[in-house]
């Protein structure tokens, strides 16, 4: 009995034919409340848009308000390793390293000398390429310096289109994250990348070759003026070639930037001013 009553109540709540109520409200009641909410939400949306607009007006087009979280720029390697930052391949299996070579090809294509010559400016090396605005007169667009692929020499993929992966002497390319206005330097000279073994892998890493020589990021590539002002900015790169790395073993490597105006990043951030990865080259099947 009680259950039937409940069922009836529920049905009547859904649609009450006597009072013409749907879910306990008549059509006009629904109309009014929905209209109210519509108007109310439009008003809120307008208000939100207004505050957002005002906020966006306070922003500079070329430089974010705060950069304190980017004091230590991040470092990234190419080819992009998997989530655990491992580059593992087998020399005897082409398909296990071919993808790295292809990734690097793709990554380096904008750096082709021809492209660079066409888009970018030839700068004076070893000095900052300053293009400041003079007061309110914006000095835009700003020019960018050429970074030619050939600078990477043996790791440029021009002479060796497999970047050394096929003979166990792989190239890794390192870049420093772009940060607007950052001018890293080491005692007035260019900052440079050094790589070394981590933990007990000291004797496994073998000899390294840096391109450009000494692994420097030339001063002329700094400062960066942002995507909008400096459309064709070419991010400088450093390539490292492992010349005789121990095969068939995990080798942990850490590269870091050497610059005395870049603070050491936090312990938690494994990619601020440094980058670690694992390299394992298998030679046996």
């Amino acid at each position: 009995m009680a259950k039937d009553g409940e069922k009836g109540d529920w049905k009547e709540f859904l649609w009450n034919p006597r009072t013409r109520e749907f879910l306990g409200r008549t059509a006009s009641s629904w109309g009014l409340i929905l209209l109210f909410y519509l108007v109310f939400y439009i008003f809120l949306a307008g208000l939100f848009a207004l505050t957002m607009y005002v906020m966006l007006q306070t922003l500079d087009d070329h430089k974010p308000t705060w950069q304190d979280r980017l004091a230590t720029p991040g470092m990234v390697i190419r080819p992009k390793a998997n989530e655990a930052l491992e580059i593992v391949y087998n020399i005897t299996e082409t398909e296990s390293w071919d993808m790295y070579a292809q990734a690097l090809d793709k990554f380096l294509s904008p750096y082709n000398d021809s492209v660079q010559a066409e888009k970018n400016h030839e700068c004076i090396p070893n000095q900052h390429f300053m293009q400041e605005d003079s007061g309110d007169v914006k000095n835009n667009p700003k020019r960018s310096c050429q970074f030619n692929r050939t600078v990477l020499d043996e790791c440029s993929g021009i002479n060796d289109r497999y970047y050394g992966y096929h003979d166990g002497k792989p190239c890794i390319i390192i870049k420093l994250n772009r940060v607007i206005g950052l001018m890293p330097e080491m005692d007035g000279r260019a900052p440079y990348v050094t790589c070394g073994p981590k933990k007990e892998d000291t004797d496994k890493i073998g000899e390294l070759a840096y391109f450009p020589p000494n692994g420097t990021f030339n001063l002329m590539y700094y400062p960066y003026y942002g995507k909008k002002a400096q459309v064709n900015y070419s991010q400088p790169l450093v390539a490292i070639k492992f010349l005789n790395i121990t095969a068939n073993q995990d080798v942990n490597i850490e590269c870091k930037i050497n610059a005395n105006n870049i603070p050491r990043g936090s312990e938690r951030d494994k990619f601020a001013g440094r980058v670690s990865f694992k390299l394992r080259i298998n030679t046996r099947k």
Partner: protein, 977 residues
Amino acid sequence: FISKALHYTNPKVLQRQGNNKTNKYLIRDGPNALTPPPTTPEWVKFCRQLFGGFSILLWTGAILCFLAYAIQAATEDDPAGDNLYLGIVLTAVVVITGCFSYFQEAKSSKIMESFKNMVPQQALVIREGEKVQINAEEVVAGDLIEVKGGDRIPADIRVVSAHGCKVDNSSLTGESEPQSRSPDCTHDNPLETRNVAFFSTNCVEGTARGLVICTGDRTVMGRIATLTSGLETGKTPIAKEIEHFIHIITGVAVFLGVTFFILAIILGYTWLEAVIFLIGIIVANVPEGLLATVTVCLTLTAKRMAKKNCLVKNLEAVETLGSTSTICSDKTGTLTQNRMTVAHMWFDNQIHEADTTEDQSGASFDKSSVTWQGLSRIAALCNRAQFKAGQDSVTILKRDVAGDASESALLKCIELCCGSVRAMRDKNKKVAEIPFNSTNKYQLSVHETEDPNDNRYLLVMKGAPERILDRCSTILLQGKEQPMDEEMKEAFQNAYMELGGLGERVLGFCHVLLPEDQYPKGFAFDTDDVNFQTDNLCFVGLMSMIDPPRAAVPDAVGKCRSAGIKVIMVTGDHPITAKAIAKGVGIISEGNETVEDIAARLNIPVSQVNPRDAKACVIHGTDLKDLSQDQMDDILRNHTEIVFARTSPQQKLIIVEGCQRLGAIVAVTGDGVNDSPALKKADIGVAMGISGSDVSKQAADMILLDDNFASIVTGVEEGRLIFDNLKKSIAYTLTSNIPEITPFLFFIIVNIPLPLGTITILCIDLGTDMVPAISLAYEAAESDIMKRQPRNPFRDKLVNERLISIAYGQIGMIQALGGFFAYFVILAENGFLPSRLVGIRLEWDDRSTNDLEDTYGQQWTYEQRKIVEFTCHTAFFVSIVVVQWADVIICKTRRNSVFQQGMKNKILIFGLFEETALAAFLSYCPGMDVALRMFPLKPSWWFCAFPYSFLIFVYDEVRKLILRRNPGGWVERETYY
């Protein structure tokens, strides 16, 4: 069984029963004690706290969290711990709050236990012809026992011999007057007959021997106790409200969850991801802090009520009293002072009013009349009551008296008016005395006079007025003896009727100075074979007594009436007395008549009066017995002022059930064992702390420590206030649910970085929101809550759609915008403009992407952008605190403006500062970045939500302004919660 025993007349056999037999009976019938009601084991009570009502919601949330985490753990390599932590926190919250309320109630029950009378009872038994003192538990049926004044009767006994034995049956029948016991069977009903004395009632005076007819649970008292423990009690109103609230919340949660589940599927998420989202959304709807808030609010009120002499046994009962729409009150002790007091006197052909107030603040009468001196002398001398020793420091009214109620009343009255009665008695030494008995209906004593030169004896007599009048030939008027003529007799009759009509017990007084020639000094008065003059006396006056109402009661009844609460008097007393007291305290208000009154006024038979004309009615217990259920409902529905007289315990239960059938929430007061079934059945049973029996206290939900009806009214006020304030508290707490859920929804739908994390949500619900939500329990009432009708349990819900509409649909949305604004400000100022954010989620949360580009072309490592994200969480959290400032201020009132209400709630102001300080601490304390992943905010980010906070305040003030200007209008119908 009892009925048979009433007439059984051969005690001699049993009188000498041997120890063997008694042992056999003891084994057969068990000890002579009430089986204690099956006490719920402590762990069951604890579990009830853990799994009852609101906790279920949290438990469901916790289980869903663990389920989600299990799914994640099974499908992902590195599952986010959020769901696991949330599950653990939810569990912890339930367990801690459960423990808290368990200990809170354990504390009240400890106070309860202190009431228990732990002294083992003794009984004087005659076994094998010898009197032996044994433990009352060892008494068996057939024992012959002896009781004397002051004893508690150890079992139901049939009196076989008695000497002036009177018993106080008030704990059983509610009758306040002691009743005499004698061996004659006067009635077939064991409760009415004079030859049965009941277990656990008290023998006031005299001695009696009786045969035990029932022991333990088979006694009348035992059966009532069993009836009580067999009664099922319904859910408390607040439990029903919380259930309704859970329905609403669950409805909203499931609706949101399913909607976004479908949306997620459409957007191309996998089934498992969508299920995780579904669970996440449902759990996000659970207000984690509310359980604790509600418990603390109720506890605070319970404490406040305890201070006002209402001890609450069960936290939920706090609110029940507030929803009460009918109070069935006992008369004796609750409405009245439970002591007979002289109320009126008639002498010199005039009725004089005595002062019956507890503190003697009332008017007094002319005491100079010579007649009064005569009257007071009779009352003092012809009186066996006397004060117990060692009470000189106690005020006269509060002193204990040995003697029956009427004599004590006279004693106190005379002591108050004329000074020491003892001195008077010493001066007028008693020579002879005939105590009161039911055949004479008078009491007389003969005294020497005060004047040592006057050797006459003074004979004083008091008794039933008509009997006294019969013995008088003269009457004392203005100190002069005048012959009793017809005119005087008529005046006497009128006065007697008038006083009787007030429900008062009237006694007549007369005296005579015995002529010295017939009764010289040393005359031997023989009281058995009366050898002296007992008629042709001189009538002096009448004195009438009543158990007067407590001083605060009329006011309290008036408050109840204006609060829309029906007060019904239920008593075992006579209808006339009951009606008189009902009129005295305002239960029958001035100008309202019963059917009988109307009939008497119009001089027509009762049957011709339209019962609808009479608002008041007095119903006799025997009439009640014959009423059908419909008739009963009719009476309860159509009479606003009802008095039930001469009711039995079962009838009390019927009355309570009748009221409940009509949808009323019933409070019942009672002190006697006979009340306990009704106490248990009532929505809230109120037992008396001082006079109440243990059984009644067991059955009750609340105990009035001062036995005063007026305390109930303060309880009602507190209960109503907490209901209003719980609404406000819930509205406040629920509002922040929206800014807590929407970030997750937008995270799913538009793929932005998560604006608000689980940890920060918990910081709001269990941290910053806590004190302000509780502080609303301290909020003063907006209007006189005792001037409005009790809430209708079917219509006025704790949480209704309008509250949800306001909290979720309106204020919550504004809050969410405030939070999102802060979020967008931080990301934009760090380089991620809103246009860049949409759709960024996968890359953003990818650990291996360490060169994510922002709007300006800068590149971010995973950790760097996560710090910004967590800073956003912190800012969103701080923004919620900021908008909750405005929310708590608007939640202070539901109708009035804050400017009318004022900011007098100090706890709330403290709460505002506390939540702000807590937010600042969480943001700036070193180490929080690691512990809770909360980061310091730039000062300007604190102000992002200010415009929204201001908007909330203005919006709600405008809403309430319209609501007040336009009562019953659309705004009120849609938004007044």
